[in-house]
Every structure is written in structure tokens, then in C-alpha cells.
């Protein structure tokens, strides 16, 4: 089993990153919506810390993924034979990279703008990325809100595209080839 990607297959590093982030993002979309709407009290305020911690891990995994794809470029998508489908797939993939930067970054900016420590894993305090200001906080969380909805839309399109095509695309992300 190869760690590296080839011209036609995904190595295990890329596949592990893909599935770890897939489960992470899916879980975070649900979890984020839950914490944003729950009645906050002593018994559940810790959930914000968990959300931030997982979000920062996903952000770090994205950085690893980008670096790794420079080291070991991914194979080209298999052509479906339908032009708009191929173009849609490429744009959804690009949107994932943009949104997986914008979503955690806006969460981090908004959290820091509250003036409270951005504490992950109950021990690491991240530096604030914006001044303490309600305007920054509101703007950042508005971005976080919209970007997470776009991310959810991309997830739906991505999964629909992946399960609908029967050309081995799914198999090479699951098993490698």
C-alpha cells in the first residue's frame, strides 16, 4: 500500500486525510448548528471548547493536505463524459478548499473578537486574530454562518456526485485503486 498518490491512484495519506476530514466536517456541521441554538448553561458551555478544538484540528489537517498534495500530487479526476458534470466536480473541489479555510478562520476570528480566550483542548490559548469588537465578532460569525451553509451544500453535491458515478471513482478513494 503506497503512501504516495500516483497518476491513477490515491495513496493512503490522501485517503486518510480525506475520510478523517469528511467525518470531521460532517459532524461539525451538525454539532455547530446544535451549539448555536441550544440554551447555553453551566452544563453545556464546554461544547463550545470541543467545537473550537475539532475545528482547529480540521484547519490543521487542511494545511497538511495542501502541503502533501504539493509533495505528492493527486491524480486527475476520471472524466465522466459529461462536460458540466466534470466542471461541477472541479468547482466543488475548489470550493471545499476555500470554505475549509474560511469556515475555521472565521470561527477563530469571531471567537477572538469577543475578548475571551480562544482556548482549544482546554489548555492551548490561540492568539486573537481580530481586535476585541462587536462589529468584528458579528461579521466573522455571519461569515461562519453563510460559509457553513455553503459547505453543507458542497457536501451534498460532492456525495451525490460520488455515489452516482459508477466508474471506480469511489473505489479509488476507499481502497486506493
Amino acid at each position: 500500500m503506497s503512501a504516495r498518490n500516483t497518476d491513477v491512484s490515491f495513496g493512503w495519506v490522501t485517503r486518510t486525510l480525506h475520510w478523517a476530514m469528511a467525518f470531521g466536517v460532517l459532524a461539525m456541521l451538525g454539532f455547530g448548528s446544535y451549539i448555536a441554538r441550544m440554551e447555553v448553561g453551566m452544563s453545556n458551555i464546554w461544547m463550545f471548547g470541543v467545537h473550537k478544538s475539532i475545528g482547529i484540528v480540521l484547519f490543521a489537517l487542511l494545511a497538511v493536505r495542501i502541503v502533501w498534495h504539493f509533495v505528492s500530487p493527486v491524480p486527475e479526476s476520471l472524466p465522466s463524459g459529461v462536460g458540466w458534470k466534470d466542471r461541477a466536480a472541479v468547482w466543488v473541489h475548489r470550493a471545499f478548499y476555500v470554505l475549509l479555510i474560511v469556515v475555521p478562520l472565521s470561527g477563530w476570528i469571531g471567537s477572538g473578537a469577543t475578548g475571551l480566550d480562544v482556548l482549544v483542548f482546554n489548555r492551548v490559548t490561540l492568539p486573537p486574530l481580530a481586535p476585541v469588537s462587536e462589529a468584528w465578532e458579528e461579521a466573522a460569525f455571519a461569515v461562519h454562518f453563510v460559509a457553513t451553509k455553503l459547505l453543507a451544500l458542497c457536501v451534498v453535491l460532492h456525495i451525490a456526485g460520488a455515489v452516482m458515478r459508477k466508474d471506480g471513482t469511489m473505489a479509488r478513494m476507499v481502497r486506493g485503486a
Binding site: E39, V40, G41, M42, S43, I45, T114, G115, L116, D117, V132, E134
Partner: protein, 192 residues
């Protein structure tokens, strides 16, 4: 003759004023504290704030002549979990770096007819530089084991509530309630 008159005057003044003279007390900071409580979802955020200083004079014959003023130390306020402590001291709530004190000054004191150790205190409280009237329930206690009528060491308890919004201290009002209840317990010692 003049000397006799003068000394008589001094004596008379002292005698007359002596009864009405309020007794001055010094604050025992380490045994005094302020507790506060504010709704937080289904729970309460609770905490304490040290008392920085107090100026207390009690007139047991004419209680209306008593005065109580207290200054609290905002920068060392402490809540029951770290985020709340940080939020409390920060710019959206008490803004301790700009406004390091909360102060209360009494205006009127009205002893309850049915309970002479209890009184209604009106005065002004200043939070974040904003001064507003407040009414506090006051009660005097002797430390356990002290004989009736001893006044050397006393506890003063003050209780009341403030609206955060009235002082511009309304940060996180989507999560944390507006009304903060206050409970001050001051240990005071008679100044000889």
C-alpha cells in the same frame, strides 16, 4: 470666670454631641466579601468581589445619622468558571481596566420598626462610571459568642440588585441575565 465658662461649654458640647456622635468603624477587608449571582440559561453564574475599602459610621441612637460607603475591587472579581471571570472583568461587562472600582454611598437609612437590627438603605451606586440610585436591605449582626449590646465587632450585610443594562454592562445579554443580585458581608471593627 471665663475659663470656667469655656470649660463648661466644652463639656456641654461634648455631652450633647457625644450621644449623637456616630461610632466610626474600620473595615476588615480579609473577612469581608461581596457575592453576586446572575442567571445563565437554566443556571446561575455566581462569584465574589473583594471589598477595597469602606467608610462606616453607625449611630445607634439616631440611625439616620449613620453612613455607609463601600468601594469594591472590580479587577479581582472572580466568577465560578474562568470564561465568566474573563467576561466579567472585560470591556463588555465591568471593564475593570477603565473602571477599577464599584462604589456605593448611602443617602438615607431607615430602621425597620419591627426589627431594629434591619434597615432600608438608599444611596447611589457607581458601576462603569455610571451612577444610579439603589435601595439595599441592611442588617447588623454580632459575631457568634458576643454579648448583647457589644459593638466592637460587627457584621453588616447589604442585599440588593442591579440591572446590567442600566450601567452599560450588558455584554453577552443573549446568554446571561440582566439582573445581578448582590450580597455584601462586611466585617467591621470599632475605631477607638
Amino acid at each position: 470666670m471665663r475659663i470656667i465658662l469655656a470649660s463648661l461649654c466644652v463639656w456641654l458640647t461634648a455631652a450633647v454631641c457625644g450621644w449623637a456622635m456616630p461610632l466610626t468603624y474600620a473595615l476588615n477587608e480579609s473577612e469581608s466579601r461581596v457575592g453576586f449571582e446572575v442567571p445563565f440559561g437554566p443556571d446561575q453564574i455566581t462569584g465574589t468581589m473583594p471589598v477595597r475599602s469602606a467608610d462606616i459610621a453607625l449611630d445607634f441612637e439616631r440611625p439616620a445619622n449613620s453612613r455607609i460607603s463601600v468601594v469594591l475591587d472590580v479587577g479581582n472579581a472572580q466568577a465560578n468558571f474562568p470564561f465568566a471571570t474573563q467576561a466579567l472583568r472585560g470591556p463588555r461587562v465591568l471593564d475593570a481596566s477603565q473602571f477599577p472600582d464599584i462604589s456605593f454611598v448611602s443617602n438615607t437609612i431607615e430602621v425597620r420598626a419591627d426589627a431594629p437590627s434591619q434597615a432600608l438603605l438608599t444611596g447611589d451606586i457607581t458601576i462603569r462610571g455610571v451612577t444610579r440610585p439603589i435601595t439595599l436591605d441592611a442588617e447588623l449582626f454580632r459575631p457568634a459568642g458576643r454579648a448583647l449590646g457589644e459593638r466592637e465587632q460587627l457584621f453588616v450585610r447589604l442585599e440588593g440588585a442591579v440591572s446590567r443594562a442600566a450601567f452599560g454592562a450588558s455584554g453577552w445579554d443573549d446568554l446571561v441575565g440582566d439582573e445581578v443580585s448582590l450580597n455584601l458581608m462586611l466585617r467591621i471593627d470599632l475605631v477607638e
